[in-house]
Amino acid sequence: MITGKKNIVIFTMFMFLCSGFSAAYADLTDVDQIVNRTNRIAYYQSTDGKAKVNMIIYDSQGRTRERRLTILRWDQPDPDGKAGDNYCGAQKIYAFFDRPADVNKTVFLVWKNMDRDDDRWMYLPALDLVKRISSTDKRTSFVGSHFFYEDVSGRNINDDTHELIKTTKDYYMLKNTPKNPNLVEFAYYEMWIHKVSFVVVKTDYYDKENKKYRTYEALAVDNIQGFPTVTKSKMTDLRTNGYTILEYSDVKYTISVSEDIFTERYLRKPPRTYLR
C-alpha cells in the first residue's frame, strides 16, 4: 500500500519539475474547469504519443502474471484549435502485445468516439483472426488485469455529474456520479486531483452499499517533454485483494504517428518503426 506520505514526496519533487510552466495558481472553483484540465492531463497531452507498458497482475496470494505491451496514441486534431486545456475529442489507440511469448503480436485497436460507442478490434495472430468487439460495456477487464478498458482509454467526462467536494492544500477532491447507474458497477467515485499538475493521484470507487471496493493510485509521476506523466500506477480490487501495477517506460510525446496505422490493415502487419 502506498501511504499518503509517499505521495507527498512524489509531488514535492513533481512540483519542482513543473514549476516552470505552472502559472501562479489560485484555487479553481469551477468543477467543469477542473474536470476538463484533469481529463486533458490524463489522456490528451500533446497530439499523440507512445509508451511501453509493463503490466504485473498480482493475485491475493501474491502470484504474478506479467504482460508487456506498447501503446500508440493518436488524437483527432482540434478542428478550430481553440479548445486549449479543455480539449477532448476522438482518439485512436493501438496496443501491441509483446509478452507473454504466446500472445506476442496480439493487437488491440480502439477508436474512441465522442458521440457513439467506441469501435474496438482485436487481432489474434495464432488464429489469424481479426475480430470486432462490441463495446457497449467498457467496464470489463483489460486483458485480465484489474484495470478496465475504460481506465485505459478514459471515461467520457459527460457520462458523470461532477461535484467538487473539497479543496485541500494540495488537492481537489471530486465526487463523480454516473448519469446512468445501470451501465456501471459503481455508485460513485471520488478523485484526488493534484492542484498544480491536475494529475489524478487517487480514485476510490464505491458500490451501492457505499462501500469502497476499488482503488486507483498514481505511484510515480515524471515530467516528460514538459508533460506531467504518470509512470507507475496501481489498481486494487479491495474485494479480492488482487492488484495490477502498470509501469510506463520509453514514454514519448509528439511522435508524428500516422493515422493509417490505426486501421485493420496494420493489425496483421505491426508498424515496427513505431513499436521499437
Binding site: R99, L124, V143, E209, R239, G242
Partner: protein
C-alpha cells in the same frame, strides 16, 4: 474380609465422606468446564467448550486428501457453495418470467450483502465468485463479425421477450447450461460461495428468511456444506432432547420394577454424575464436541444404571431376610463385585477398542465412553452403598421381596415368564441349537449382501427441507454434490544433456525459418550459453533465467542491426520456457474433454466444467458461434489467445478457478446428482479404469478432492478401521472371559450369544438393504461390550450355583429366578432407554436407537435361550473338570489366552506402529510356541494340584 467386602464396608461406614467427595469433584468439574466457556476472557488457560460439526474432521488434519483438498482450494480459489434453486413448474416459461427473474435479481443482491467482518477478517459470501444471472458474463455474437461480452442479466427484464432471452443466452453457454439454468427452463440455480463452510447455516437461515418474502415459485436451499452445518446445529438440539428423554424413560421403567422412588434415585445420580464428569473432562481436556461425542451422554446413561440395577435387584431380594441395610449391602456387594467389574471392563473395552479406528472423533468417542463406564462402575460400588445408608430404615419397611418359608411364592409376570423359559431351554435344547445354527447361516448370507454407503444429506429424514431440495434440484440440474478432479503436472526431471540437446534442435529449426543473416550468429551464441549453463544449473528455470539476463544485457547495448535478432531470440527463449505451461497444450485440453465425457458416461455425474469448456466456448464465439468450432484450437498459442480474450470480461478471475496462473495445475469441477458414497466411488473407479486404458498425453498426476470425495475416504477408513476395532475388542473380551472363567471353553461360551447377535443384526441390515453407514459401523464394536454383560452374569451365577446343586437340571430353575430376572430387567431398561432416539428427526440417531434396542433384545434372548441349551448339551465337558487354582493351571486356557494376547499385540502394532505384517507374522510364529511351552510348565506345577473352593468364582 476380602477386598470386595472391604470396599463396601468402607463406603457404608464413611458414607458422608464418600458423598461429600463425589459432590465436590462433580462441582469442580462443572466449574472448570463451564467457566471458561461462559467467560473465555477470564480463564484463558482453560479450554472452553468447542463445537465441531465438520465431517471433514472425521479424517486427521494431516490426511493426504485433506491436505490436497485445502491446497487445491487455495491455489484455485475454490469455495464451498450453498446452492439456491428456484423452480416454477406452473408458468409456461418456467422461471423465465419477469416476476421470478426480478425476485432472483433481488435475492442475488441480498446474498451479496451476507458478509461480515469478524476479528478483522472478511467472512461470509464471496461476492465476486457468486454465480447468478446478474453476476455472470455472456459471450455471444453482437452482429456481423462482432463478439460481445456482457452481463447475462444486467438489470431485471421488463418484458416476456427479455426474460426468455436470458434463458436462450444461458442455454448456449455450456458452463451455464445445467449449472445455472435447467435444460427445460423450469429451474434456475444460484451458487453462493462461502469463505468458511461453518457459516453455511447462518447464510442458509438468512436466505430462508429472504425467500419467504417471494411467492409463486419454489425455493430450495441445499449443498453439502449446508447439510453438514445444519446437521451440526440440529444435532445439538437433538442431544438436549434425547439424553433427558432417555433418562425419563429409564426412570419410569425402574419405578415400575422397584416401586421405591427413593431407592431408584441413586442409579439416576450415578448416571448423571458419570455423564457430567465424562463430558466435563472432554471439554476440559480441550476436545471439541463432535457429531460423535455429542452421543456420549446417551450411551453412558443406560450403561451407568446397569450395575446399580443388579445391586438394587439383589438388595430387593435379600433385604427382608436380615432387615439390616449394612449386612444386606455387604452381602450383595460381595456377590456382585466380580461380575460387575468384568461387565464394566468388557463394556469399556468394547468402546475403548474404537481407539483402533483411524478416525479421530470416533477414537475420542470410544475412549470417553470407556472412561464414563469405568467411572460409573466406581460410583456404583462406592456411592450406592453410601446412598443406602442415608435412607431411614422405616422407609425400607415394605421394600423388597418377602420370602416366607414353606409358602408358595406368588410370582410376578417376569417371574412367571422366566420360569417358563427355563423349562423350554431344558426340554427343547436341541431345537434351540438348530435354530441358532440356521441363524448363523442366515447371518452369513445377509452379511454378504451388505451395502457400504453413506451420504450426509441422507442423515436428514426424507421430509426435511434439505432432503426435498436435494431431490428437486438434482432432478433439474447437473447435480448439487461437488467433487473435483485435480490434474497436476509432474515435477519435471531436469536432465542436463537432453535439455541442452532439445534446446539446440528447436533453436536450429527456428533459425532456418528466420530470413535475416544476423539471426544465426545470435541464436548460436545463446545455444552455446545454454549448453554451458545447463551443465552447472540445478533447474531449467535457472538456465532460462541466465539466458534471459544475458539477452537483456545484449538488447540494451546492441547496435540496431542486431536488435531484431536479439528480440527474436528473446521471444524464442520465452516460448521454450512457456512449454512447461502444460494446460495450454491442446493435447492436454483435449484429454480433459475426454475425461469429462468419461465422467458423463458414469450417469452419476450430471455435468462437469473445465478449462477445456472455457477455451472451446471462446473459440466457438470467436468464429461466429459456429458449432463446429466448439473445439480446442490447434496450437498452444491459439489456446493462450483464446484465454486472453476470455479475460477481457467482467469476471477474468473465473479462469483461475480452473487453472493456476503457472498453468501447471488444473481441476475439473464435477457435479454429481447423488452424494452417496457408493456413487462417488463408482465414479472414482470408472475414471481410474479410463485413465489406465487412456493415459494422458504427458505425465499428469490425477487426484480427486472435494467434500463428496472426502466423505468416501473417511468412510473407507471407517469400514476397515471398524473391522480392526471389532476384531480387537472381540479378542480383548474373549481374553477377559477366558481369564475370568479360567477356561477357554467357558470363554467361548460367553462369546457365543453376542457373536450370533451381531451376526444376525448385520445379516438383517444386509437383507433389508439398509446401508452400512457411519452409525451402523460404530455400533459393531460397542455392542460387543454391552451384550457380553448378560452372558457374564448368567454364566458366573450358573457356575457358582452348580457347585452346590451338582446338576444342570437342578440349577436351571434357580438361575432363572433372581439372576435371570435381573438380566431381564437390564435388557428392558437399556433397550427401552435407547428408544427415545427413534423420535429424533436425524436418521443416524434413529438408526442407533433402533439397532441398539434390537441388539440388546436379541442378545438377551440369546443369553437366556442359547446358553442354557448349550449348557445342557455340554454339561459334562463344562462341569467335568474341577475348578483350577491359578490362572496358569488350566493348560488349554493358558495357551488360548496367550495366543489371543499375541494376536492382540500384533493387531495393535499394526494399527499404531505400522509394523509390516511379515514382521508381525514372525513375531507370532516365535512367541506362540514359547508361550505354549511356558503354559505347559506352569500348569504342571505343584501349586496347581491344590484346589480350594475359595478361589473359584
Amino acid at each position: 474380609m476380602n477386598i470386595r467386602k472391604k470396599i463396601a464396608a468402607f463406603s457404608i461406614n464413611q458414607y458422608k465422606w464418600v458423598t461429600t467427595v463425589i459432590v465436590l469433584l462433580t462441582s469442580v468439574i462443572i466449574l472448570m468446564a463451564a467457566l471458561p466457556s461462559i467467560f473465555p476472557e477470564k480463564f484463558p488457560y482453560l479450554n472452553s467448550l468447542r463445537v465441531d460439526t465438520d465431517p471433514e474432521n472425521m479424517l486427521p488434519a494431516n490426511e493426504h486428501v485433506r491436505i490436497l483438498h485445502n491446497n487445491m482450494k487455495k491455489v484455485l480459489q475454490l469455495y464451498d457453495m450453498v446452492v439456491v434453486g428456484i423452480v416454477n413448474e406452473d408458468h409456461p416459461d418456467g422461471v423465465f418470467n419477469t416476476k421470478t427473474l426480478n425476485n432472483i435479481y433481488e435475492l442475488t443482491k441480498f446474498a451479496k450483502t451476507l458478509h461480515w467482518t469478524e476479528n478483522g477478517e472478511e467472512k461470509g459470501v464471496v461476492e465476486v465468485d457468486l454465480i447468478a444471472p446478474s453476476t455472470v458474463d455472456n459471450i455471444e455474437q453482437g452482429g456481423l463479425g462482432v463478439v460481445k461480452f456482457e452481463w447475462l442479466m444486467s438489470t431485471p427484464p421488463k418484458t416476456r421477450e427479455e426474460a426468455i432471452a436470458v434463458r436462450e443466452k444461458a442455454l448456449k453457454i455450456p458452463f451455464l447450461n445445467g449449472t445455472l439454468v435447467s435444460e427445460d427452463g423450469k429451474a434456475l440455480a444460484i451458487y453462493i460461495p462461502l469463505t468458511h463452510k461453518d457459516l453455511s447455516y447462518r447464510v442458509y437461515s438468512a436466505l430462508k428468511q429472504k425467500v419467504a418474502e417471494f411467492d409463486g415459485d419454489e425455493y430450495h436451499i441445499t449443498g453439502l456444506p449446508v447439510a453438514e452445518d445444519t446437521f451440526g446445529v440440529e444435532m445439538f438440539i437433538q442431544m438436549a432432547v434425547s439424553a433427558p428423554a432417555a433418562m425419563v424413560v429409564i426412570f419410569i421403567l425402574m419405578l415400575i420394577f422397584f416401586r421405591k422412588l427413593i431407592l431408584i434415585i441413586s442409579p439416576m445420580i450415578v448416571a448423571m454424575v458419570s455423564v457430567i464428569i465424562t463430558m466435563g473432562t472432554l471439554v476440559i481436556s480441550g476436545f471439541p464436541v463432535h457429531i460423535m461425542s455429542s452421543m456420549i451422554p446417551i450411551f453412558i446413561m443406560p450403561i451407568a444404571v446397569l450395575d446399580s440395577i443388579h445391586i438394587i435387584s439383589e438388595f430387593f431380594e435379600l433385604y427382608q431376610q436380615t432387615r439390616s441395610r449394612k449386612l444386606t449391602m455387604i452381602k450383595v456387594m460381595d456377590e456382585l463385585f466380580t461380575p460387575m467389574l468384568y461387565t464394566s471392563l468388557t463394556s469399556a473395552a468394547g468402546f475403548a477398542s474404537l481407539a483402533l479406528t483411524p478416525i479421530p472423533p470416533v477414537q475420542v468417542f470410544g475412549l470417553f465412553i470407556a472412561l464414563g463406564i469405568m467411572l460409573a462402575w466406581i460410583l456404583t460400588i462406592i456411592f450406592i452403598p453410601a446412598y443406602v445408608m442415608f435412607l431411614k430404615p422405616e422407609t425400607l419397611e415394605k421394600f423388597g421381596a418377602v420370602h416366607i418359608p414353606g409358602k408358595e411364592e406368588t410370582l410376578t409376570i417376569t417371574g412367571k415368564f422366566m420360569a417358563r423359559v427355563s423349562k423350554v431351554t431344558y426340554r427343547y435344547a436341541k431345537v434351540i441349537l438348530t435354530v441358532a445354527v440356521l441363524l448363523v447361516i442366515f447371518s452369513i448370507y445377509g452379511m454378504s449382501l451388505i451395502n457400504i454407503n453413506d451420504n450426509p444429506v441422507k442423515w436428514f429424514t426424507p421430509s426435511h427441507p434439505i432432503r426435498v431440495a436435494d431431490r428437486v434440484l438434482n432432478k433439474h440440474f447437473g447435480g448439487t454434490y461437488m467433487a473435483y478432479l485435480a490434474l497436476s503436472a509432474r515435477d519435471e526431471h531436469f536432465d542436463r544433456r537432453s535439455f541442452a540437446r532439445t534446446f539446440r534442435t528447436n533453436a536450429e529449426r527456428r533459425i532456418t525459418s528466420l530470413d535475416f543473416r544476423e539471426a544465426a550468429s545470435v541464436f548460436n551464441e545463446v545455444i552455446n550459453l545454454i549448453a554451458k549453463s545447463a551443465m552447472t544449473a540445478s533447474s531449467s528455470k535457472e538456465v532460462y533465467q541466465n539466458a534471459m539476463d544475458f539477452i537483456n544485457k545484449k538488447l540494451d547495448t546492441t547496435s540496431d542491426a542486431f536488435a531484431e535478432a536479439w528480440d527474436e531470440v528473446s521471444l524464442f527463449v520465452e516460448e521454450e520456457k512457456q512449454k512447461n505451461q502444460i494446460f495450454k497444450n491442446p493435447k492436454v485440453l483435449d484429454y480433459i474433454s475426454n475425461l469429462q465425457n468419461a465422467l458423463l458416461d458414469t450417469h452419476v455425474v450430471g455435468k462437469s466444467n473445465s478449462l477445456a469448456d472455457i477455451v472451446k466456448t471462446v473459440h466457438r464465439e470467436l468464429f461466429e458461434g459456429k458449432p463446429d468450432h466448439y473445439s480446442i484450437p490447434a496450437t498452444s498459442k491459439a489456446v493462450a489467445q483464446c484465454m486472453i480474450s476470455y479475460q477481457s470480461s467482467h469476471r477474468p478471475n473465473d479462469l483461475w478457478h480452473f487453472v493456476t496462473p503457472d498453468y501447471r495445475k488444473s481441476s475439473i469441477w464435477v457435479q454429481l446428482k447423488s452424494g452417496d458414497n457408493k456413487d462417488m466411488s463408482a465414479v472414482v473407479d470408472s475414471i481410474e479404469k479410463y485413465i489406465a486404458s487412456n493415459p494422458p498425453p504427458i505425465p499428469l498426476k490425477i487426484e480427486w478432492f472435494g467434500l463428496t470425495y472426502i466423505n468416501v475416504v473417511w468412510q473407507q477408513k471407517m469400514v476397515s478401521g471398524m473391522l480392526e476395532a471389532f476384531a480387537g475388542s472381540f479378542l480383548v473380551v474373549f481374553l477377559m472371559m477366558t481369564v475370568l472363567f479360567r477356561s477357554a471353553l467357558w470363554g467361548i461360551l460367553s462369546m457365543l450369544p453376542l457373536t450370533i447377535t451381531i451376526g444376525s443384526i448385520y445379516g438383517t441390515v444386509g437383507i433389508i438393504g439398509k446401508d452400512y453407514d457411519m452409525p451402523v459401523a460404530v455400533l459393531s464394536s460397542m455392542t460387543l461390550g454391552l451384550a457380553v454383560d448378560f452372558a457374564i452374569h448368567f454364566l458366573a451365577r450358573s457356575r457358582q450355583m452348580y457347585l452346590s446343586l451338582h446338576s444342570w437340571e437342578n440349577t436351571v430353575p434357580v438361575i432363572f429366578s433372581e439372576p435371570a430376572r435381573a438380566i431381564g430387567r437390564n435388557i428392558i431398561v437399556i433397550a427401552v432407554g435407547f428408544l427415545p432416539l427413534l423420535l429424533a428427526p436425524l436418521t443416524p440417531y434413529k438408526t442407533v436407537g433402533a439397532l441398539l434396542a434390537a441388539i440388546l433384545l436379541v442378545s438377551g434372548a440369546g443369553t437366556l435361550l442359547l446358553l442354557p441349551a448349550l449348557m445342557k448339551v455340554l454339561e459334562k465337558p463344562l462341569f467335568r473338570s474341577k475348578p483350577v487354582a491359578g490362572q496358569c493351571c488350566n493348560c488349554v486356557a493358558c495357551v488360548v489366552s496367550s495366543v489371543t494376547l499375541v494376536v492382540l499385540i500384533a493387531l495393535t502394532l499394526d494399527s499404531f506402529a505400522q509394523v509390516s505384517w511379515s514382521t508381525l507374522t514372525w513375531f507370532v510364529v516365535i512367541t506362540v510356541p514359547v508361550m505354549a511351552l511356558g503354559c505347559g510348565l506352569l500348569s504342571r506345577r505343584e501349586k496347581c494340584k491344590i484346589l480350594t473352593n475359595e478361589e473359584v468364582i
